[in-house]
């Protein structure tokens, strides 16, 4: 029996080491041959550039957090016209588990007067895997990212983390430079925003007749509450906001009221989908605005809520 346990422990140790080096080797020599290792540096969302850009910025008026809805909606150039400096820390499919990482990493450095937390309802139902591998590949891996990977608790995240740590230790991404303009028409704008003039294709314009439901994963809800608590503890004013999605898509969801009620409990909340119906020409796809939509939305935001935003900055959430 002793022999069994001794050998089992030795084997587990051996296979653990084998796993780490095996994953690293596969990642280096045949990354496309795997299903559960997804190290994609410089992919859509420009997180690589955004992080490097953010590291050079200090003291902003407004810090934006959230998913692609955030970085495709809030344009720092338009905020500047209203005499507000802003940095957009949104990233693709960023769930609240990853938003926590952003908060921990940048809140002291940015020292924001207001946080705009983009709260697309779909984020409550994501497992956070897509964004976790985006963070691992495009951001320096620190303790917060390792902690986030364990919270996501997914084999794809673990494998990518192992490989990412390997690349970081060997400085394999040292010479990488992400292009500012992507082949799909995306242009990175300093301050974290991604600009596009592309318009939604006809296929996506098809009506969304199915009845969709937003669901809430307890893990994401807990991470959201932790973020809110952190902001409250630090007495930083915040505004929860849902940016517009294609109206036919929005109408396909049957429990919007429930989601609105959920968010309203935790602070000032605006769902622009109820207030702003934009034509399809304002959309990049059924989820995201293009620059025409961004211009309209930001103008509407400042016209309707400009005074409220100023009051929030001046007086906080009280």
């Amino acid at each position: 029996m002793f022999l069994f346990f001794r050998n089992l422990l030795l084997f587990l140790l051996f296979s653990g080491i084998f796993y780490v080096f095996g994953t690293a080797l596969i990642g280096i020599f045949a990354p496309r041959l795997t299903k559960n290792l997804n190290y994609r540096i410089g992919t859509g969302g420009n997180l690589y550039t955004r992080i490097r850009d953010a590291d050079t910025v200090k003291n902003v008026d407004v810090m934006v957090l959230g998913s692609s809805h955030a970085y495709r909606s809030f344009d720092p150039r338009l905020f500047k016209k209203h005499r507000l400096s802003m940095f957009n820390l949104g990233s693709s499919a960023q769930s609240y588990l990853q938003t926590k990482v952003m908060v921990n990493r940048y809140i002291d450095q940015f020292n924001p007067k207001l946080i705009l937390l983009e709260v697309y309802a779909g984020l409550l139902n994501t497992d956070g895997v897509e964004s976790s591998v985006d963070f691992i590949a495009n951001s320096p891996i620190d303790n917060d990212i390792i902690k986030m990977a364990f919270e996501v608790n997914h084999i794809k995240t673990y494998n990518t983390l192992i490989y990412g740590l390997f690349r970081q230790a060997l400085k394999l991404d040292r010479g990488y430079k992400e292009p500012k303009t992507k082949s799909n028409g995306d242009v990175y704008i300093p301050g974290g925003f991604v600009q596009t003039y592309e318009t939604i294709n006809e296929k996506e314009l098809l009506s969304f007749e199915e009845e969709n439901i937003y669901r809430i994963k307890s893990k994401q809800a807990a991470a959201f509450l932790a973020i809110i608590q952190e902001l409250k503890d630090r007495q930083i004013p915040y505004l929860l906001i849902q940016t517009p999605i294609l109206s036919s898509r929005f109408r396909s969801y049957t429990n919007v009221t429930e989601i609105d009620s959920f968010y309203k409990q935790y602070g000032p909340y605006i769902n622009l989908n109820h207030e702003l119906t934009l034509p399809p020409s304002s959309y990049y796809d059924s989820h995201h605005l293009n620059q025409h939509g961004v211009d309209t939305m930001n103008a509407y935001l400042f016209k309707t809520y400009g005074a409220f935003i100023e009051a929030l900055i001046a007086n906080g959430n009280q």
């Binding site: 029996m1 022999l3 296979s15 084998f18 095996g22 795997t34 299903k35 559960n36």
Partner: protein, 482 residues
């Protein structure tokens, strides 16, 4: 609790440590521990059905004793019938009530009569078909005087509900498992490591092969009307490997788990896709069920005795019943019938026991004849699986019809990079299975004589393969629904 879940990864080591370190001095304590663990394991699905399991256990335990103590044949028959009727009654109610109610209404509808049968929203208790058959085999064996009943209720309960086999078999026999439960068990290093090896291969089958194949099989079967014939063939092939990986993977994990606890379970699979005829396939696929039907249905019906027509009748009976055992759907019955039909020439010409030995025994490769025989048998099996997987008979026939009417030779529409990776995994899997086809499971002896670092590297490579290629959603085993 699924074998491929984190819960099981915690549950099994706890049971293992308590079993060998805390309760190892007393057989009774070990058995009680396993019994409690088994009931806990089962309750993770639905604790309410524990009562059904307990009732079935009590019924068969006392029926067995009553049969044994009966002094007249009439009394023996009475107790046997009581056990059979109640056991099959529960099985019939939970598994087949709605099927019969709906089929009856459809039949009346076909006659022009309208009927609205009272269907019930019945939850099927996990593993009911399996533990019912455990219990029945016990009372049958006592009735047939093959065994004497045990007087130890804990031991009998453990025989019925031992957690590795409780929900999807192998369907054990009292003659095989009860003696092991009754005897003190000593930790056996070779048996335990063999168990771990078999579990490892079972996980590969389940999470790498079956679950990845399921993704494509589901996609194609659920939207079959939209696809070309070549894609539909691909869908049937994916399901063929899905069901094998899923069920034999489950079995390997079950047998491996039992070995860790010092118990040997019956073999359930013996590389069925390397069979040279359908009879051989059925000697290698779900062996514990096939042999159950052989012993308790086929042989009592007369078995191979009598003329050709008699043997063909018996063959159809066991295959139709076996199909129906799988589920309350005409697709399963048709699947059973189809397999019986494939058996007809073999039964008629008495060649059904021609291929007993493993194919290409002692050789690396099969000869041309063996290869053609295997290809034909595999093709028939794939064809039959279409009926097993389809939602309804109409869907199955539509699926088969579309294979031949929609661009059979065109490039499959669903072919993608990740699908090619899955096909690569299946190919590697087939090669490893072929290499180990003369053993109890594919990697039983592969590398066993290699130096330790090399051998461990081989197992670590398998773990790495699981980590890099496993399907990432926990998927229940197919046979849990039966």
């Amino acid at each position: 609790m699924l074998f491929n879940s984190t819960d099981f990864l915690i549950f099994l080591p706890i049971v293992f440590i308590l079993y060998w370190f805390v309760f190892n001095k007393s057989l009774k304590a070990q058995n009680i521990l396993l019994l409690i663990s088994s009931y806990y394991f089962y309750s993770c699905w639905d604790w309410r059905f524990l009562f059904l399991l307990a009732f079935s256990t009590v019924l068969d335990f006392y029926s067995g004793l009553a049969i044994f103590r009966s002094s007249t044949i009439k009394q023996r028959k009475f107790w046997l019938l009581l056990s059979v009727i109640i056991n099959l009654g529960f099985l019939g109610f939970f598994k087949y009530y709605n099927f019969f109610a709906e089929s009856f209404a459809q039949f009346l509808g076909a006659l022009g009569l309208e009927a609205h049968p009272a269907t019930l929203s019945i939850i099927l208790p996990v593993g009911i078909s399996f533990y019912t058959f455990h219990g029945l085999s016990y009372v049958f064996d006592i009735y047939n005087r093959k065994i004497e009943p045990t007087t130890n209720f804990v031991q009998y309960s453990l025989f019925v509900s031992f957690f590795p086999l409780l929900v999807a078999g192998p369907i054990e026999r009292a003659t095989h498992l009860l003696p092991q439960v009754e005897k003190p068990r000593k930790f056996n290093y070779a048996m335990a490591t063999d168990g771990l090896r078999q579990m490892l291969w079972g996980f590969v089958k389940k999470v790498v092969i079956a679950d990845n194949c399921a993704e494509y099989a589901n996609l194609i079967f659920n939207n079959s009307a939209e696809y070309s014939g070549s894609t539909l063939v691909l869908g049937a092939l994916f399901f063929t490997f899905q069901i094998y990986g899923d069920f034999s993977g489950y079995t390997d994990i079950a047998i491996g788990t039992a070995k860790l606890l010092g118990i040997n379970l019956l073999r359930n699979f013996a590389f069925p896709y390397f069979s040279r005829d359908i009879a051989e396939f059925w000697r290698r696929w779900h062996i514990s069920l096939s042999s159950w039907f052989r012993d308790y249905l086929y042989i009592p019906l007369g078995g191979s005795k009598g003329g050709n027509w008699m043997r063909i009748r018996n063959t159809f009976i066991i295959f139709l019943v076996s199909g129906f055992w799988h589920g309350a759907n005409w697709t399963f019955i048709f699947w059973g019938g189809l397999n019986a039909l494939f058996m007809v020439p073999l039964v008629w010409f008495k060649t059904n026991r021609k291929n007993i030995e493993t194919v290409a025994q002692g050789r690396l490769l099969p000869n041309i004849t063996e290869l053609l025989q295997m290809a034909l048998t595999f093709g028939l099996t794939v064809f039959a699986w279409i009926f097993f997987r389809a939602e309804s008979l109409r869907h199955a026939f539509q699926y088969v019809g579309d294979i031949f009417s929609n661009n059979l030779l065109s490039r499959p529409e669903v072919l993608s990079y990740s699908m090619l990776i899955t096909i690569g995994l299946i190919t590697t899997f087939i090669i490893v299975e072929w290499m180990g086809r003369e053993d109890k499971y594919a990697i039983e002896k592969i590398g066993i004589l290699w130096p330790r670092p090399l051998r461990w590297s081989f197992y670590a490579l398998i773990i790495l393969t699981i980590g890099l290629y496993m399907h990432t959603e926990e998927t229940p085993f197919i046979y849990f629904q039966f």
